[in-house]
C-alpha cells in the first residue's frame, strides 16, 4: 500500500466496550509508541509528527479531548487541526504511568507517529532539499529501527484542511497541483525529475511534509 512512512501507531483502549463515552489508556502504552521519536533530534532535516485520528465519521479533531491524569494534576493535550498533538514524553510520567483519558468511545481513536521533513514553513523548496531529507529518513530507520526504510517514492504534503492550497512544480515546465479537501497532495519523483532541478513553490506553508512510500504491504 502506498502510504506516508509510518513510525508507529496504536488504537487507544482498543479492547473494550465501544459504547462507553470515555476511554482511558495507560500512559506507558503511549510512551512506547513515542519511543522512536526520542532519537530523531540528531537529524537536522527530520521531525516527528504525532497525530490522533478518529474512525468515527462525525468526529472532527476539534471534538477530541485528551487528558493525562497525573498525580501532579490533569495535563490537557491540545489536539490541533489535522489531529496533530504534542504528547508530553517524560521519564517521570513513564514511571508514574497515569491514565490517559479521552472523551471518545474506546477503540475509536488511533495515535499515530510519522517521521516528517523539516522546513515545511518555506514557500519555495528545491527538490534537492527534499531528496536530502529523504536520505535522512533512510538513515533514521536504519539507526532507530534496525531496518531498511520503506521504498520512498516522494512526499505527501499536508496543508491545513479545508484551505485551497496549491503547489507548483517548477522544472522545464510547470505542473500545478491542488490539495484535496483534507489538505493533502502527493509529489512523486517521476513528477519532479532531478535533471530539471525542480523547485516546489507552495501557495501557502504546509503543516507538515511526510515521506511517501511505494512499498506494498
Amino acid at each position: 500500500m502506498r502510504l506516508p512512512v509510518l513510525l508507529a501507531s496504536i488504537v487507544l483502549a482498543a479492547a473494550a466496550n465501544a459504547d462507553e463515552a470515555v476511554s482511558t489508556t495507560p500512559y506507558a502504552t503511549l510512551y512506547q509508541v513515542l519511543s522512536p521519536v526520542q532519537t530523531i533530534g540528531k537529524y537536522d532535516r527530520l521531525v516527528a509528527i504525532e497525530r490522533i485520528e478518529s474512525k468515527m465519521p462525525d468526529v472532527k479533531s476539534a471534538d477530541i479531548r485528551v487528558v493525562i491524569h497525573a498525580k501532579s494534576g490533569a495535563i490537557a493535550v491540545p489536539v490541533g487541526q489535522d489531529g496533530v498533538v504534542n504528547f508530553p514524553a517524560t521519564n517521570a510520567l513513564r514511571e508514574e504511568n497515569p491514565p490517559v483519558e479521552t472523551n471518545q468511545p474506546k477503540g475509536s481513536l488511533a495515535f499515530i507517529v510519522n517521521v516528517a521533513l523539516r522546513g515545511a514553513d518555506r514557500l519555495r523548496v528545491p527538490w534537492n532539499d527534499v531528496e536530502a531529507g529523504l536520505e535522512q529518513v533512510k538513515a533514521f530507520y536504519a539507526e532507530s529501527r534496525g531496518a531498511t526504510a520503506p521504498a520512498i517514492s516522494g512526499i505527501e504534503v499536508h496543508f491545513a484542511p479545508g484551505t485551497p492550497a496549491m503547489l507548483t512544480i517548477e522544472g522545464k515546465t510547470e505542473r500545478l497541483l491542488m490539495a484535496d479537501p483534507a489538505g493533502r497532495l502527493v509529489v512523486t519523483r517521476d513528477m519532479a525529475p532531478e535533471s530539471e532541478k525542480p523547485v516546489l513553490a507552495f501557495s501557502r506553508a504546509p503543516e507538515f511534509v511526510l515521506p511517501y512510500s511505494d512499498e506494498k504491504k
Partner: protein, 224 residues
C-alpha cells in the same frame, strides 16, 4: 441538512479496486474529504461476491453504503448522502450556477459514455500501447474533454473541475485513469486537470491496492 443522530460507523462495500470504477467514485470522495469508514471488498465474479453481495446490497451491485440500519446503493446517491450528512454541502461547489452545472456533468457521467465504458474498461494495472479508439468511443472522449475544458474555464482558480475538489471530480476520476492507462492523447488544459487528480493521495492509495490485488479478470485484461 444533517443526520447525525447515530454514532454508527460507515461501511462502504466495493468491488475490486483494479476494475470497479463505480466503487472508486464514492470511495475517493470520502477519502478526499477525510470521512472515516470501514471498507468491505468483494472480489468480482467469484462465489464470494455472489454470497457477499446478497448480504450487503439490495440491488446485487456495488458500491453500497451501510450506516446502522441505513443502506444506500448507487455511487451518486452515496455521494449525495455523504455530502449532506458529513460535508455540510462542501461536496458540491459554491454558487447555485456552479452546483447546477456540477450536478449536470456528474449526471452525464452517471448515465452516459457507455461506449467509453465498454471499450475502455477500468483496469488500473494495464498499460495499453497503441490502443485504437473506435469512432464512437472517440466521440465520448471528445465530449468529456470538452466538459473538462468548459468547467476549467468557468472555474478560473483552483485545479479541479470547479476549482476545489467536488463530487464531479470523483465522478470523473475513473475517466482520468482510463485516459492514463489507455494512453489517450489530451490537450494541455485536460493534462493539467489529470495531473491534479493523479496527485491525490487517496487515488494513489487506491492504485497501490489495485496493483496488489491478486485476482485477474481475463475479459478486462484482454482489452488492447
Amino acid at each position: 441538512m444533517t443526520d447525525k443522530t447515530s454514532n454508527d460507523a460507515l461501511t462502504l462495500v466495493i468491488g475490486n479496486k483494479n476494475y470497479s470504477s463505480w466503487s472508486l467514485r464514492p470511495w475517493l470522495l470520502m477519502r478526499c474529504f477525510g470521512v472515516a469508514f470501514d471498507e468491505v471488498r468483494l472480489p468480482l465474479e467469484t462465489p464470494e461476491f455472489e454470497t457477499g453481495v446478497r448480504r450487503w446490497s439490495p440491488s446485487g451491485r456495488v458500491p453500497v453504503l451501510h450506516r446502522g440500519d441505513l443502506v444506500v446503493w448507487d455511487s451518486l446517491a452515496i455521494s449525495e448522502y455523504v455530502n449532506e450528512t458529513y460535508l455540510d454541502g462542501r461536496g458540491w461547489p459554491d454558487g447555485a450556477q456552479s452546483r447546477a452545472v456540477a450536478r449536470a456533468v456528474s449526471a452525464e457521467m452517471h448515465s452516459g459514455f457507455q461506449t467509453l465504458r465498454n471499450e475502455l474498461p477500468l483496469n488500473c494495472r494495464r498499460r495499453a500501447h497503441n490502443f485504437v479508439v473506435s469512432p464512437d468511443a472517440r466521440r465520448d472522449i471528445e465530449r468529456i474533454t470538452r466538459i473538462w475544458r468548459e468547467c476549467r474555464a468557468r472555474a478560473g482558480e483552483g485545479a479541479y473541475l470547479f476549482g476545489a475538489f467536488s463530487i464531479a471530480d470523483a465522478m470523473y476520476a475513473p475517466v482520468v485513469l482510463r485516459f492514463e492507462t489507455y494512453a489517450i492523447e489530451i490537450g494541455e488544459v485536460e493534462r493539467h486537470y489529470t495531473d491534479s487528480i493523479l496527485a491525490l493521495p487517496a487515488l494513489k492509495e487506491w492504485l497501490a491496492a489495485a496493483e496488489a490485488e491478486g485476482q485477474a479478470l481475463p475479459k478486462y485484461d484482454a482489452v488492447a
